[in-house]
Symmetry: C2
Subunit: 409 residues, 2 copies
């Protein structure tokens, strides 16, 4: 058996970054309405002021603030009503001292006006006048030109994963075609003579293919485009054929399965045969996830990953390596994790980073993280968890009550 | 002006629940691969054991544990190799005392065997024997029948929002057609003479429509199906016509806009005209979000909501009322919020629940929540935030360092 040195997660990540240093994530332009969850490919600036005119935030009278300085409950100010501003229309007159204008919430302030007195503090008077019982400071009850976004101001930063409010801001700025990063393409090959598709009843010794479905949806959730999935029997020839075919158009080919040493050796051998420079990570100091192989083919610019066969391990490794890589490449922020106290003492594996699936429970105005114990081969370990936390490889264990950061699924 | 009493958020929620008490959320059956993020409409039980046979978790020799009790580094045990188990095939022989069988990781244990000794602690010996240098306890290095899921066991609970690992578990259980809740249908009407579509350059007094885009994507993200969106001018007749049309096939019609008193009165009047029993909430003790009107039409089973015109208010109210309602109706868990210390003293509005947009910052191994100050009319208040926290209506303010729960956007 070949001896090899496993990589720390950090080493594997650095090697991944070096491998794809020449990758240019393609960008595409999508309609505003289809941009939810996509990552901005450029900094977007506003080409004008938002709002482009001073808007009232209340129903009332637009005034020149200085005219109202003396106004109060007992000594009101009486101004001439120059006109009425209609919603959606320009206020096409100018206020002079001694004048005011009716304005609705959201309406435009006429030129000359610099504040609004709320209708609740006013009374119409005679044919053409208004009595104001409150003063208004310069700018009061109004949104200034460019107060939301100034012309030339950065609206949204490259890498931002677009949320509904971002889409609202783009609408406000009139940006209806949005440049976003393309999705890296992924092929998933599940290997194993024991695998049958979920629709099929397994015979003794067979099991249903889990990884294709779990990895496919995990990758979709994280912004990858799935080109192809297939179950491959334990045959080097078939695997080699499938790999060569997938490498023609996939950015990443994930081979999941190969839990036995024979299968792992076969996966590594095939990756070495089809790629140059080939395998650069021969195992991870990660629990679960040790039997992970990663290689690169420069000619086709394809990352080739042999993921562990256990579903939990395969998902964790995909998350920690490839979802991480996509965040790095797009410059998008990782979503915040939830700090929580662990509910019991926990042994860990010094020298290896440990990923613990955990269930968050809310009690006494704080979260407790209950580690889910279970073999990596059991998919229900993850269905019971909200997320996972990571124990550093220098720790020998954690004490009940220590704070961990739970990354949500 | 009509006097009315505003509802607390809790009161409005209870009224919403009462209004829709006869609603049966439709269910639909989707393919496993399309079920990500959908809510399970039923409890799902496994109809068989997973795994259905005992599987080895290592490469090694399947044994009868008792045969190995004495085995150790210096005094090994020698057993006859009865056969070799191939991946994906039944182990069609029976182990008797003194016998063992080669088995790969994931392979089936033959009848009689109850543990596995790892290949690392073994040596082949002669033609047909193996030397074992370690003992194995009953069950060691094996997954038992039903250890992942037992026959008849609850696999996933009704209301569960399906994650990749849940989809993996369904694949393992052979459930490829998944009963999920249908998406409630929503029509969004943005009202206002001042609104133009984002592609159009606004004239003085006009602004681009934000709410349609922000609300549409927010609702989609939260599991609603958008049937129709439209910009409606400030005309009671046009609004009434649009409402009557939308009520024919929408579960919810959200009218956003109407910030001025005249528009609010018009929206309320139209909702009252088209629905029986009509408006039941005439305002919310919520900041932002006070000018919220909610009504119900029993005949068409439609909820009618007049949301505030300000984008931030409209989004907050939609989130706190309608996204909340959908969680209640499907029985799905709300995602965990992130506890964080606020970064400054904060005044609030006694008597009103306050929603504060906030930006989470990670420092000193804890989160700080920086409240984002800004008028509700400014969409960039939300684009700068990761989430929001709620200040109870009985609080007069919060002190720097107090812990708040940030609900992530």
């Amino acid at each position: 058996m070949e001896l090899f040195k496993v990589d720390s997660l950090e080493q594997a990540r650095q090697k991944l970054l070096r491998a794809v240093k020449d990758w240019m994530l393609p960008t595409e332009t999508v309609n505003l309405e289809s941009s939810l969850g996509r990552c901005l490919a450029v900094d977007l600036f506003s080409t004008f002021n938002i709002p482009a005119f001073r808007r009232s935030t209340v129903d009332g009278y637009a005034v020149i603030a200085k005219d109202t300085t003396a106004a109060g409950e007992s000594i009101p100010v009486i101004l001439s009503v120059k006109g009425k501003v209609e919603m959606g229309e320009a206020a096409d007159f100018v206020l002079k001292s001694g004048e005011c204008a009716e304005v609705p919430t959201g309406g435009m302030l006429p030129e000359g006006a610099d504040a609004v007195v709320m209708v609740e503090y006013s009374e119409p008077f005679g044919r053409n006048k208004a009595v104001l019982y409150q003063s208004a400071a310069n700018g009061e009850n109004a949104v200034q030109i460019g107060e939301d976004v100034r012309e030339g101001e950065l609206l949204l930063k490259q890498g931002k994963r677009l949320l509904p409010q971002d889409i609202g801001a783009l609408a406000a700025a009139g940006i209806t075609r949005v440049p976003v990063y393309g999705r890296p393409t992924l092929t998933i090959l599940s290997t194993g003579d024991e695998l049958v598709i979920p629709d099929q009843k397994p015979l003794p010794g067979q099991i249903r293919d889990i990884n294709t479905y779990a990895l496919k949806t995990l990758a979709e959730k994280n912004g990858f485009e799935i080109l192809h999935t297939a179950i491959i029997p334990d045959s080097e020839e078939t695997l080699e054929h499938a790999l060569l075919s997938a490498m023609q158009n996939s950015d990443i080919v994930a081979i999941s399965g190969g839990s036995s040493q024979g299968e792992k050796d076969a996966t590594r051998a095939v990756i070495e045969r089809v790629s140059v420079p080939g395998v650069f990570t021969h195992g991870l100091a990660l629990k679960p996830g040790k039997p992970t192989i990663i290689g690169y083919d420069e000619a086709s610019r394809t990352l080739l990953a042999g993921l562990p066969g256990h579903p939990v391990s395969a998902m964790m490794v995909f998350e920690l390596l490839f979802s991480w890589l996509l965040h790095e490449m797009t410059g998008s922020e990782m979503p915040p994790a939830v700090p929580a106290r662990i509910s019991c003492n926990l042994a860990s594996s010094p020298g290896r980073l440990t990923c613990w699936p955990a269930k968050l429970k809310w009690m006494d105005f704080a979260y407790t993280a209950e580690p889910i114990f279970g073999k990596a081969g059991l998919i229900t370990t993850l269905t019971k968890a909200n997320g996972y936390f990571i124990v550093d490889r220098n720790r020998e264990g954690l004490l009940e009550g220590e704070i961990v950061l739970v990354h949500l699924f």
